[in-house]
């Protein structure tokens, strides 16, 4: 059989003979990448104004939209809590906003079960814009007009960066499902 078609015993994730997917990787990688995304404040960039997009939140959206059902609807609680510890927001704003985002995506999914990339991008943009505005209002600082103007570049960057983040997440997804040597 292999002489006729060398790919016959393989799928996109590797050989299927004596190889299987690695469960901690399959279920753990999405969580790990979102947590790493939440650690952006530790990047050696000292920003005088909020410029970087909320990577943890965007990664969570991308995973959720790429693989519905992989992150449970309650994933916003632990992920948001971790994000709050480092983001500088008052504790709880991430828990609330991450959870709400996941619930809203559930509702959108019921309305549009079959989605394409453009709808995903639109969904992500429609969620990340209110997320950033509400996060700025809840940040504990006095909400002023200047503050809302300051986050405009960040809004734009977050929307434009989503396709790239979605591609990176797709790359992680292929890595996640790689078949490795079976040990049992």
């Amino acid at each position: 059989m292999e002489q006729l078609n060398p790919q016959s015993r393989r799928d996109p994730y590797g050989s299927r003979i004596n190889r299987s997917q690695f469960a901690p990787l399959v279920y753990g990688l999405p969580w790990l990448t979102v947590l790493l995304g939440s650690l952006t404040p530790w990047l050696p960039i000292i920003a005088p104004a909020p410029v970087l997009p909320p990577f943890g939140f965007l990664l969570m959206l991308a995973w959720r939209l790429l693989r519905p059902g992989l992150l449970p609807p309650w994933a916003g609680l632990p992920l948001g809590l971790f994000d709050d510890l480092y983001s500088g927001q008052p504790l709880g704003s991430g828990v609330l906003l991450f959870s709400l985002a996941l619930i809203i995506i559930e509702l959108i999914e019921i309305r549009f079960p079959w989605r394409n990339f453009w709808l995903d991008w639109l969904t992500a943009a429609g969620i990340v814009v209110p997320y950033l505005i509400i996060a700025a209002l809840l940040s504990g600082a006095e909400p002023t007009l200047v503050q809302l103007r300051v986050i405009a570049p960040q809004l734009l960057l977050s929307i434009l960066l989503f396709p790239i983040i979605a591609r990176v997440v797709a790359m992680f997804d292929r890595f996640r499902l790689k078949r490795v040597l079976r040990t049992d």
């Binding site: 530790w42 000292i46 005088p48 609807p73 948001g80 510890l85 504790l91 600082a141 103007r149």
Partner: protein, 299 residues
């Protein structure tokens, strides 16, 4: 992408319950977040211990990153720097020539200052720094402007202490963990520093605008005496910051003050110095509740 199979629970009672429980837990999570948020907005200090522990855990990675950071580079400046290297080099050489002259003048002034102080019999009240630390990160995606430094309670850092760099004031310590601390940067909209003009006694408050600039509000309203390029230094009012530390330079005149640019851009700062609170008694007196009228001695 196809809808996921898990939601098509059909008539399977157990699967239906599983999906339903997921929604309930998600909703409860959101409510829990709202409750936490209310607590932390009403009492911002409630969870500081939790945050301090978390930042202690992540600090070593931040220190490694900060060591690799070269001077004076934000993300975009780092990329743009390559395109302007030639012209910038020429300009910098010119500036260095000017600066050498200024430095010599400053040395002379310093000596004269020391001589005059000696004449007046004033003690040189140079404050000894508490700790030297690296600025290892900042909340670059939140609307709040907080930084992280690599020194904490073990080094003697306490909340309220001013953080300075050779270029000027950076901010003050907000929460101190064991090995790392959170710093309220000057540009945060909750930060307010009493300043005065370096040349005379025009006093103002410098408020952060969270976009990298400061807003100077004059204390004495009337005719606005501030001119462009006036340098402002800390005035020492309130007792927290030692007077005479450079803060900002006015760039735009407004009706009640000016918009000023930070002199010590945190993006260009690597090593910072944590200084003791200048007049701890004054700060404590301000923080303490006013004495009860009953307690005052009668007559």
């Amino acid at each position: 992408m196809a809808p996921p199979a898990h939601r098509r629970s059909g008539v399977n009672k157990k699967a239906q319950l599983g999906v339903f429980t997921g929604y309930v837990v998600a909703g409860a999570g959101a409510l829990f977040g709202a409750a936490l948020l209310t607590i932390s907005l009403l009492a911002p200090e409630t969870f500081s211990g939790l945050r301090a522990m978390a930042s202690d855990a992540a600090a070593p990675a931040g220190v490694v990153g900060a060591k690799g950071r070269t001077e004076g580079q934000g993300i975009f400046e780092a990329i743009g720097g390559y395109y302007r290297a030639g012209s910038r080099n020429a300009r910098l050489e010119e500036e260095v020539r000017v600066a050498r002259v200024r430095l010599a003048e400053a040395e002379a002034l310093k000596q004269e200052n020391a001589r005059l102080k000696a004449v007046l019999g004033l003690a040189d009240e140079e404050s000894r720094p508490v700790a030297t630390a690296r600025l290892i990160g900042s909340t670059s995606s939140s609307a709040r402007r907080l930084g992280y430094i690599s020194a904490g309670r073990n080094d003697g850092v306490r909340p309220g202490m001013p953080v300075t760099s050779p270029m000027g004031l950076v901010g003050r310590v907000l929460e101190a963990g064991a090995e790392s601390s959170r710093v309220l940067l000057l540009t945060d909209s909750e930060s307010m520093v009493p300043v005065r003009r370096s040349t005379d006694n025009v006093v103002a408050f410098a408020e952060g605008r969270s976009d990298g600039s400061l807003r100077l509000r004059l204390v004495n309203l009337g005719i606005n005496p501030i001119k462009k390029n006036d340098v402002f230094v800390t005035s020492g009012a309130g007792g927290m910051f030692r007077p005479g530390v450079a803060v900002a330079i006015a760039t735009e005149i407004t009706r009640d003050g000016a918009i000023a640019q930070l002199l010590s851009n945190p993006a260009a700062t690597d090593l910072v110095v944590v200084e003791p609170i200048w007049q701890p008694e004054a700060v404590e007196a301000l923080a303490a509740p006013p004495p009860q009228p009953d307690a005052a001695p009668a007559g």
